[in-house]
Symmetry: C2
């Protein structure tokens, strides 16, 4: 069995069944290309021995993989990674303009919520708002036809957002509406992290509760150094990835992305 | 109950218990600051009614939150978000140099694996390798004292990596060892996504199986346009976040990060 970091025996975790763990391990190996399209998976006995689980557990995990069309089981021959699986593409192939065009032209927006509200403490702090100061909250779902792509939740100061309507938000991106009011964007700071889908995001992004989501929190400043927009995006990694391409000059200037740690946390 | 996107009633999902779902929802609201440090959570009856679950489910979720020291239950008073929870910090506070220094000086490296191997198809494709061509695979765990921070898995062409030893890798970062061989780095492409911790990453990063992880895949090219390093990082969002700071000039030049979608997938 080809592997990189050796998989350990699975152990019971509260609230997560062994079949679900095995499903996650195998799905990860398939989507990551450890097993490519058409590759044969180890047989049931081998999987049982390798992961230290029962045949019932193995069959349930394989059945869930099959339901997601990641594998095909061929009577008497074995279990194979689906050949209809999209090939992992070299990621330089996707252009910036293509992505922008696609998002602007080929996607539609549904406004989920638009209201005044006191933002949670963390947002208020980042927006440098007084306690109990209201802001405009806009939640939107960006989709292509039937396929949901991004849930965005934006906070903008009342002075900038109070006049925005649902109709406008469905026609034009929020940043355009801010620009139209004379806001000049300056620095943008992004924080990227991973979260588990709660039932709301799972339903909107049509994924499972507990599936991984990518969360991008973006803070946009104007030329006065004032925060004018706090945006949180959630996307499903099944459909969306975040790309970053840096030229050597930018690397030297330290524009590169970086990972920071809070090492004091346990 | 303050909320942004309204939470729906919880529904059973194969392999993930309702108490686990409720735990995930509440943990997300706490770590995101919807409930700040010291805030009172709704009582058991309110949680039951809101999420449509039993008291046993609510108690189990609260007990798990308590075990993670996210909440404190005060006899006769109610349930409160832990005041020892780190305040959500405005993320501009962390400097690039600080992060670099910390990673270089204050972290240690443990080499988990160093061997020659044929990389999985997706890696070989991105590295433009011939099929069955071997490369050097190096897996490392970067940690501060007892606290694990990053699991890195690097692939480098045999010509560049064959002479690297475990001792060298524990003393110097891989990129320094490549530079010492005369490699000149050029463009860097990164892809960022979210995955669920499989048992291997969970153990190494000291998190739970099924917890969310941030995965960064980095492809480094030399000045000839040849891929010289394929690096995959996994970090736990409990301890690490990815930051990106962009000046207006860079935004205009299109260096900004972007999210791309594979909208043809279901």
């Amino acid at each position: 069995m080809t592997e990189f970091l050796r998989t350990e025996k699975l152990v019971k975790t509260p609230g997560t069944a062994l079949h679900r763990q095995l499903f996650l391990v195998l799905r990860e190996q398939i989507t990551r290309g450890v097993y490519g399209p058409g590759a044969m998976l180890p047989n049931e006995d081998e999987l049982c021995a390798h992961f230290g689980v029962s045949k019932i557990t193995v069959r349930r995990a394989l059945s869930d993989l099959k339901q997601q069309e990641l594998i095909e089981r061929q009577q008497g021959r074995g279990t194979f990674v689906s050949t209809r699986l999209p090939q992992a593409h070299p990621f330089e192939a996707v252009g910036f303009l293509d992505a922008l065009k696609m998002r602007g032209r080929e996607t539609q927006v549904r406004v989920l919520e638009l209201r005044r509200e006191v933002p949670p403490g963390a947002v208020a702090l980042q927006m440098r708002m007084r306690s109990n100061e209201e802001a405009v909250y806009a939640a939107r779902l960006r989709h292509v036809g039937d396929t949901p792509l991004i849930v965005t939740e934006a906070w903008v100061p009342l002075a900038l957002g109070a006049s925005v309507t649902v109709e406008e938000l469905e026609r034009r991106p929020l940043y355009e509406l801010l620009l139209a009011q004379g806001v000049v964007f300056d620095r943008v700071v992004e924080e990227i992290t991973a979260v588990l889908a709660n039932p709301v995001y799972a339903k909107l992004l049509r994924t499972e509760v507990g599936a991984p989501l990518l969360r991008v929190t973006r803070l946009v400043y104007d030329t006065e150094g004032e925060p004018v927009e706090h945006l949180t995006l959630h996307v499903s990694p099944d459909r969306s990835r975040m790309l970053l391409s840096l030229q050597p000059k930018e690397l030297e200037q330290g524009i590169s992305s970086r990972i920071v740690h809070d090492p004091l946390l346990p």
